[in-house]
Assembly symmetry: C2
Homo-oligomer: 496 residues x 2
């Protein structure tokens, strides 16, 4: 294990943690964070030592509290700071005396509001003491497996009616790691990922990054066995050369999906006043990402959609997409989106076409079904037609991936078309993504059933096509660097 | 009322209807359609005469059935045909003998599968008899106020577990009219609109359009008092000159949101094998739509998002957008999307800035809030801060529309920020759109609360920005043709 990985590991799995600014007051960030740790410790999820630090309290939530870090008897690997900015430098000095390895500064009020001097002071104390610092102005870390949870946003909120609603949920366990510069977007993402039932391995928000940056986190996630996909939201990446080097290593083994905002002049200006980020030319990011195999997305929804695709499906072995549907219009939308993104939806080979003709002759497909690609089995669709047609497309050597647009509305279609096509997909290493349109019971059921069976499902044809396109893009990169088969082997082992 | 409007009116509000192919068998389209009419008649929603036509039955669902149209004693204004294609020409002849005014041919198997000859025969019978024809290969009409409902897709489906799920719901009453060439996309749209609680006035699917086309429907919706926004999905518009003329009349008074697919070569090929559409050059559509003020969208989600914006909000008086948020990252995303679409997010005037400085001095806004545009009141946000800041932006003469990115996750923010900002928005004619990110309880609640109070709410910053951008685009067009103030007057009366 290299030094960076060892250092980053302390943030995710510390032997001992002190929360400076732990509090009894329920609306304080220091309360929420300490309670997260205390409850995870009680439940046996968090197994490190836990110390609250507070000037005035003797006990917090049943834990003996200390007035300063220096009063704590044992070692303190990790310190989480939740007190006002003016007190942070002194706490950093105490932490260096305690031989602390890592500090998370949740506190805001540093370079993002022009207080650059203070941030430099803090960083220099840390550097001298060999302390790694996450933040300031960040949300810190959430790790579902070790019980490290620094999210200070309340999990529920009580409305004026007295109803209690989930407000900032914690997602279920899974294989997506998320790195975000914006804390607000980070929590919003957790809310989104939870609602969409997308599983997360680790979450880290690095804010002003006075020390630790995205590259070091990428290096850590590269070796993290629980992480198979990395989502990165950034407003600026200052250490470009370092990023390129690390990203290149990572993408040879795990996909990185990057959402880089501040693309326009006004957007960059907004980013600067948010995290002090200097966004730089957007084209340079485009080129840099492409060079090292980072998949760049254009907006928030695509960010999650593509992340989901990678969590569920292998990269595509080529550029040619097959589309199977019972809904003509939506299939045209999917074709458009594929082609606009440089993918091909071309006519099937004669051999593949003749297989469909055979099905028609046998009465297994409607005579008026279109079968050139897209295959439109029309409103007469049954589960068997979906299964038989999907098999032909997955078998076709000229096709590298399948978009299944199975709209549930057609009268004769039973829900087992999901199980049948998903079962079939398991026998092939070509990626499959699905789409059903609608927001009522049946559409929700179909999409969630697909995902339970390992097929990412989307609510619009374009979203499905965008996600498939990302699987192609990553496949193209892996082939370019001669790592496609190696990746696929690992992927197959991991998913079997 | 002009002749076209009178003719189209028969499809939506017929004095008498015969369903040819009405059936007792529950899985038959002819059963579902007849039952829709029969139930709406029993409930007093459909007030016309209703006749089932079936070769073998005496009664269907308690209604006396006839073996042919000619046996029906009274007049038949409208005939709905749900029998195989081979029988359609004969039925058309019978319909002409009965002086029928309009026919809807639900039946597929015409030009979309190469059976162009039969379609021509049918069209020529209709023309000679002055019968207007919708279809073939279509879903026909759904009109919530008159009880005309030709949707043959089952409203619910029973799973193999025995559970019954809503499968093709009917949306609630509202002011969006939808015209769609693709039937499959049409029902999917109904599912989407219902789930998102978007109200619909009328729905029409015209399929192969052997006679009636989108232009005639547009003309009808122009004078329909229940319709304030028109959504048009098309794969090809053949009668271009006619469309331009009608669309120009319509957009002077009501927004048309057009989703034209078949944009790429492969997409156009797919469209051709779907509805026989010849898609034509995509750039020509772009230019034509822009010339007559039709708002073109790029994908399915934008189609509905923009439709919702027009249903709720007025067009913008100019190009300059203000953004108010408690979440820095998402505000950068919104700025990017606005700017990429040609909108401006520029710094506030000195006067507006000084109003924010005043709030800070009074302790009403955090000192470290950024207030140049976007306004980021940060994680310390309260409802009062949102209200005070929104008011300053809505008052600012240099700002033409407001995007409210109110993420519910910040600890001190109470849900009444929705009521406060929405209440404020009512006093201004500048458009306001909102966004909250997340898919769990609180996010759903916040978005739906905004919409109950007349502010369209989106789940991503980019969706909110796209919708605001469409309100700007339409405003620009209305000003160009000198109809902005007239439109706003009608809009204000309609929405008060």
């Amino acid at each position: 294990m290299n030094e960076i990985v060892r250092q980053m590991g302390v943030f995710f799995n510390p032997r001992s943690v002190a929360i400076v600014g732990a509090s009894k007051r329920i609306n304080k960030a220091g309360h929420v964070i300490f309670k997260n740790f205390a409850e995870n410790k009680r439940r046996g999820v968090f197994n490190g030592e836990l110390y609250p630090v507070n000037l005035r309290e003797d006990f917090i939530l049943g834990h003996r509290s200390y007035t300063s870090l220096s009063k704590i008897p044992g070692e303190i690997e990790l310190v989480v700071i939740v007190v006002p900015a003016s007190a942070v430098a002194d706490i950093m000095k105490e932490a260096s005396n305690k031989n602390t390895k890592a500090v998370v500064i949740i506190t805001a009020g540093f370079s993002e509001v022009g207080n650059t001097e203070l941030e430099k002071v803090v960083a220099s104390i840390a550097e001298k003491a060999h302390i790694r610092v996450l933040g300031p102005n960040c949300l810190g870390v959430y790790d579902i497996s070790t019980g490290v949870d620094m999210l200070f946003l309340p999990e529920t909120k009580v409305l004026s009616t007295g109803d209690e609603f989930v407000a900032t949920p914690r997602p279920m366990a899974g294989h997506i790691a998320m790195i975000t510069q914006s804390g607000a977007f980070g929590v919003a993402a957790l809310d989104y990922l939870t609602g969409r039932q997308m599983g997360v391995s680790k979450f880290v928000s690095f804010g002003n990054k006075c020390d630790v940056d995205e590259s070091e986190m990428l290096e850590y996630f590269l070796q993290d066995n629980e992480t198979s996909v990395i989502l990165l939201y950034a407003e600026a990446i200052e250490a470009g050369r370092k990023f390129m080097k690390v990203a290149k290593q990572v993408t040879a083994r795990k996909p990185i999906v990057a959402f880089k905002s501040g693309r326009t002049k006004a957007g960059a200006r907004a980013a600067a006043s948010h995290t002090g980020a200097i966004a730089g030319s957007d084209r340079i990011y485009d080129a840099a990402f492409a060079q090292v195999g980072v998949i760049r997305v254009g907006d928030m929804e695509e960010f999650f959609d593509v992340g989901k695709a990678f969590a569920f499906q292998p990269p595509a072995p080529g550029n040619s997409i097959g589309i199977l549907t019972d809904a003509g219009g939506p299939s045209v939308m999917a074709v458009d989106e594929c082609e606009l993104r440089g993918r091909e939806v071309r006519k099937f080979s004669d051999e593949t076409q003749s297989k469909f003709e055979e099905l028609k002759l046998k009465g297994k497909l409607p005579k008026f079904a279109t079968t050139l690609n897209p295959v439109d089995i029309t409103g007469s669709a049954t589960s068997e037609m979906f299964e038989l047609s999907a098999q032909i497309i997955l078998e076709a050597p000229e096709i590298d991936g399948l978009i299944l647009l199975g709209l549930h509305h057609t009268p004769a279609l039973q829900e087992d078309f999901v199980d049948r096509t998903a079962g079939l997909a398991k026998h092939y290493t070509k990626p499959v993504v699905a789409c059903d349109i609608g927001e009522t019971e049946m559409a929700m059921f179909i999409r969630s059933r697909f995902e339970k069976l390992g097929i990412p499902a989307y609510s619009s044809p374009e979203d499905a096509a965008k996600s498939m396109s990302a699987l192609v893009e990553y496949g193209n990169y892996l082939r370019k660097i001669n790592r496609f088969h190696e990746y696929l082997e690992v992927y197959t082992t991991f998913h079997s």
